[in-house]
Amino acid sequence: MWKELSVTEVQQLDRAIGAADETFQMDEQSFRAFYDLTARSLWSYLYRTSGNATLADDLAQESYYRLLRVRFSDPNHDYMKNYLFRIATNLLRDHWRHAKVEPPPPSERDDAHPLHNQPASAAESHIESDLMRAMNDLKPRERQLLWLAYVEGSSHREIAQAAGLREQSVRGLLFRARARLATLLRRRGLAPGAAQQ
């Protein structure tokens, strides 16, 4: 709701807005380069971890905004990317905690997203669908660990930082998550070796 502002308030706002312009450590050019490099992989991580494309859209945008607001800038894009994924992981965890809802069960996930309606060969579609369902049957933390390790190539230390775990426990958790995914795939008759063909 808008209210009438006095001259003093308007002047105070002007100063605050001026300060906001200096809030971001990163300049526009650097931000755009970093965004173009990382946005798709961040979205993919959030989508595959949450199973919800709309939530992935929102959290991806929020993650970049938080990154800008922390006045953190590093010429090393890998380091910044790791930091960005840590922010995204925390946001996802906060979302589940504050909404007081567990991640939706596989049957309620966002299967109607345009990504799932892309034309593909029957075999590709079948594999993609089975793999997605097997992923959705994992716990959120297992999906996060697997994605960070196997897709983003994060080290155990980076995974521990992003997921809020001890570095020593990552290896075991990762191994168990992979074993569980392998079991789920086997139940669906999709051995990883078969999917490569």
């Binding site: 105070q12 605050a16 965004y35 993919s44």
Partner: protein, 183 residues
């Protein structure tokens, strides 16, 4: 592919990296062929990276320029909210203080108010000039009643009202001073 509970292998992270990038060294490739854990890790890495490739080719993310613009807009809005926060606080505080003062006056002057209400009730509902005349005399009685109770409330409960009025006066003085200073 053998999925019969392989044990963790120290080469797994190297294998995952190679599976992601597609660059294998000969020794590692031989190791993968003989190690069930690494074989499974390599296959899993390929599958998951295929998923990522599908996402990356088909997802629709906002343009980087739009994201930058939105972030700036959001930062400005937050800065605006931060700037007006003290003003809103003082505003809310003065409302609360006003409310407390009104309640305190009602409590302190309850006898006078009660008398006024009773006299209003005894007078009945009259219309026209007769009513107005009666109302004027009732108002006079209320004021005189309030005046007669003056020393009592001043000695017993006058301190909170005086404090409230002083705070209100102080805030008004500060607000006037700040407005004058800005001009």
């Amino acid at each position: 592919m053998n999925f019969s509970k392989p044990l963790p292998c120290k080469e797994e992270m190297r294998v995952i990296r190679s599976a992601r990038t597609g660059f294998w060294d000969a020794g590692l490739e031989q190791h993968v062929a003989s190690c069930p854990a690494c074989s499974e890790a390599a296959a899993m890495a390929r599958l998951l990276n295929e998923m990522r490739a599908v996402d990356e080719s088909q997802c629709r993310i906002p343009d980087s320029g739009l994201m930058w613009w939105k972030a700036q807009l959001l930062a400005r809005r937050e800065a605006g909210e931060d700037a007006t926060q003290p003003i809103s606080f003082v505003e809310r505080f003065s409302y609360v203080l006003g409310g407390v003062c009104a309640i305190a006056v009602c409590i302190l002057q309850w006898h006078a108010i009660r008398g006024w209400l009773i006299s209003l009730g005894q007078g009945g509902w009259k219309m026209g000039s007769a009513y107005l005349g009666e109302a004027a005399s009732q108002a006079q009685r209320v004021f005189s009643s309030a005046a007669s109770t003056g020393p009592n409330w001043l000695t017993q409960l006058g301190l909170p009202i005086a404090t409230g009025a002083a705070i209100l006066g102080l805030f008004t003085a500060i607000a006037v001073y700040l407005a004058h200073l800005e001009e």
